[in-house]
Subunit: 477 residues, 2 copies
């Protein structure tokens, strides 16, 4: 259940807009005059550069989807390590063992419903959830029972569920997500995606379907991680598109609905993989570290452009801009391309364990993992006392409209273990209004990345990283 | 080449907005005072009724996709005939033989491109075009040559194309479509979809891919009819999603791109099917006919909700409203659910042939086949001298915002043969800004139909049908 608890934790939203207008004037002693000048140069250089866009295009197109354990994930590790070396970073690969789940065939067809003519083909668009076991090769056929909640599932009980397939029909709350509470909206939906199969199996259900945990209105199924609780029969599980969940809901009100469901994924042995870590050593406090990061693995249906090639590319851009401007930070800026954010979190778990003794030296951690929409400012997880330290940073970003600071309990999956240990943590506050239309679907492709908005996000990361690396005081923590 | 020439003909746009404001006052002698009163009753009843929505929901959900020759198409014929009988119409089935093409497996995967790691899976989302022959079961693997036009194809010639797979990379012009010139925009794209394979085969190409003839940005392939010219080798052909065409274009600029392409469609023997024709006999001139229609067949990827379950449902609503209000038209109102609009036009061809001697008795023909967006008025194909006859009609529709009259050379595929014989022809002027985002894709599902906008379209059809049936003069033709 780790992934889901992290996901919920990440997004537990304590919203408090902290606008630049209300803030005191920049405090000279926080950042040197030279640093403040450099921040403007960094911003301008990042806004004008297409480096990040070219990197995410390469990741999405020349490498492709990068699910943990896949050949593409391995190629991405090699590629990013080589690119970081080109930037003059000290690169190391942090070894981890990752799950290696492979999607197979996936098919759903209704075989009984009100009005159905013999020979009818009424397909259900669906995608196996990451970690799901397979059906028998020939598939299974059973009646679908539509439920709205875990409570309703329990109410129906074994009598109504035994030998049937459950559809968890909870609709992603797009309005909530668009309003800024994306974490709460996603968390509500992911609860069923992650734990639906485990909840249905004890009642004798043969499989669990879930309405896609996203807002696509384009017949796209949303994949994502699921997990089986210990001791429960593992039943196959898949997400159906919103349109197909609508159809099943409509038909089930009229009479019995049966589906023939075929899923043939495999879980292969764990595979060796790596976090890619590149250090630009600090000139004054090289042992103090500011992490700037995204995750390198991606789901297999799309090409991992918005989730999260963009984050990796924008993080690499920080090092690229500092090299281009010949700026050396006082603290070490550490670019990390995390592995296995999507289905296990093995990368961030390993890093937090390996660095457990060094937490105090982790000055700050930044992760970008909510797409590459126009950034409105920063998300911060840490002590409120630190907020005034960010005014010069948001001042430097004011001209691009990125001046807000939103506080949350956590800002990203991979930084969450660090946040939990007290490391001040940050993300760009990217406009996520359309993120969940594409996220974890086949439509996560490079055209969803707006080059200008990506450059704006990269600018936020670069300015924030350099400012934190050169901050002349410790951050309250 | 019939389908494409019709498609272009249909939409050849001679735009002339003819707004209500500039029109003379209604001419009393055109319509009786009672008819004018009745038009308002019809409008209000249609706007308040959910009959059309329930019908399209049944067609899309309880029947499903209805490609000619399929069990669902046969079921739809039975269903609509029965529903028309419930409305008290004199129903007959006009027999036709239709193509019976069946989609099989369809898979595309790149096997070579710049930067590709061994074992990479980089899928190409594609859909076989209707009428395409199959590849061998094991698929074919060849390099892709990207071309922008038929002229470029010819320039490359056999030397560059022999043994290769052509990608016709012409992008659907969304701006043109949104501006109202949907027909021209669609025609440009369909030219390659319909004729690409036939054009590429003589140069030794093994298959033809085409960029989807639509504006989807959600990794959806657009299917549709294609045809082989006589005497040319039949090569398999499929549409790729816009995102995948983008990918191939991007990669082909960097080096050779190879694809493994598997398509297993079959063309089965022609199948007996029917136009469903239901007459509400006129009280004064029963031999004069006003057709109100949509087409019953649909592509197989989606569920035929916007294309064109909506048109059939709205046409049926005309009869339903007249029955509900106990109104009998002076001329016969003929509801037609056409068969085989999508891949052959056999239904409209047969009707025009069967009724060849009765063209003069066809007072008018209406078809709705451009989705069910909010209608702004009428599309008219006929003599400009007829335009003043429509003022009382658009007056009756003014309160719902449907007061414009746009003249075009043709208004719909199935009415085109009638239009060509001089039958004044009409369509609702539906807002088609989003139509080509879903049209012919898997996302043509019931949620794309807005119940209110569908009722507005049904109101346009019902008011227009009754007005024409009761017009106290002949229409100029």
């Amino acid at each position: 259940m780790k992934t889901i608890s992290l996901s919920i934790l990440i997004f537990l939203t304590v919203f408090r807009a902290y606008s630049q207008q209300a803030a005191p004037a920049p405090t000279p002693e926080l950042y040197s005059a030279q640093t403040l000048t450099d921040l403007k140069s960094i911003q301008q250089a990042a806004l004008q550069s297409d480096y990040a866009y070219k990197q995410v295009a390469y990741l999405a197109n020349n490498i492709g989807p990068r699910l943990s354990g896949s050949p593409q994930a391995a190629r991405a590790v090699e590629y990013v390590a080589a690119e970081m070396r080109k930037l003059g970073l000290e690169v190391r690969l942090e070894k981890i063992m990752v799950p290696h789940w492979v999607r197979g065939e996936e098919r759903g067809e209704l075989t009984q419903f009100e009005g159905m003519a013999p020979g009818t083909v009424q397909k259900i668009v669906l995608a196996a959830l990451g970690g799901s076991v397979a059906t028998p090769k020939e598939g299974i056929t059973a009646e679908i029972v539509v439920v709205g909640s875990f409570a309703e599932l329990a109410q129906l009980g074994k009598e109504k569920l035994n030998g049937r397939i459950v559809l968890f029909n909870n609709r992603f709350n797009r309005e909530m997500a668009v309003s800024g509470q994306w974490g709460a909206a996603y968390g509500q939906a992911v609860a069923y995606r992650f734990a639906g199969a485990g909840a249905a199996a004890p009642f004798g259900a043969l499989a669990a379907l879930v309405r896609s945990a996203g807002s696509s209105e384009n017949r796209l199924a949303h994949t994502g991680a699921m997990g089986y609780p210990d001791g429960v029969t593992k039943i196959p599980t898949a997400a159906v598109s919103n349109e197909d969940a609508d159809l099943i809901e409509y038909l089930a009100k009229q009479g019995p609905v049966k589906i023939h469901l075929t899923l043939t994924p495999q879980t292969l042995p764990d595979t060796e993989s790596y976090n890619v870590i590149g250090d630009l050593k600090g000139s004054e406090k090289p042992d103090e570290v500011v992490i700037v990061s995204g995750h390198l693995d991606s789901w297999d249906l799309g090409r991992g452009a918005i989730d999260d090639g963009s984050g990796v590319a924008a993080a690499m851009q920080t090092a690229n801009i500092l090299k281009q401007l010949n700026l050396r930070p006082k603290r070490t800026v550490r670019v990390i391309a995390w592995m296995n954010e999507e289905n296990g979190g093995r990368g961030n778990t390993a890093y937090a364990a390996d660095e457990a003794a060094n937490m105090a030296k982790h000055f700050a951690a930044i992760e970008m993992d909510l797409g590459a929409g126009h950034p409105l400012g920063l998300v911060f997880a840490g002590k409120d006392e630190a907020l005034p330290f960010f005014n010069p940073i948001t001042n430097a970003l004011l001209s691009q409209g990125a001046f807000q600071v939103l506080t949350q309990a956590s800002v990203g999956s991979d930084t969450a273990p660090l946040t939990a240990k007290g490391v001040p943590s940050f993300a760009p506050l990217s406009d996520a209004r359309f993120y969940f239309d594409y996220h974890h679907t086949a439509a996560d492709t490079i055209d969803k990345v707006d080059p200008k908005a990506l450059a704006e996000n990269a600018s936020v990361l670069a300015v924030l990283s350099y400012a934190l690396a050169n901050l002349q005081q410790p951050l309250p923590r």
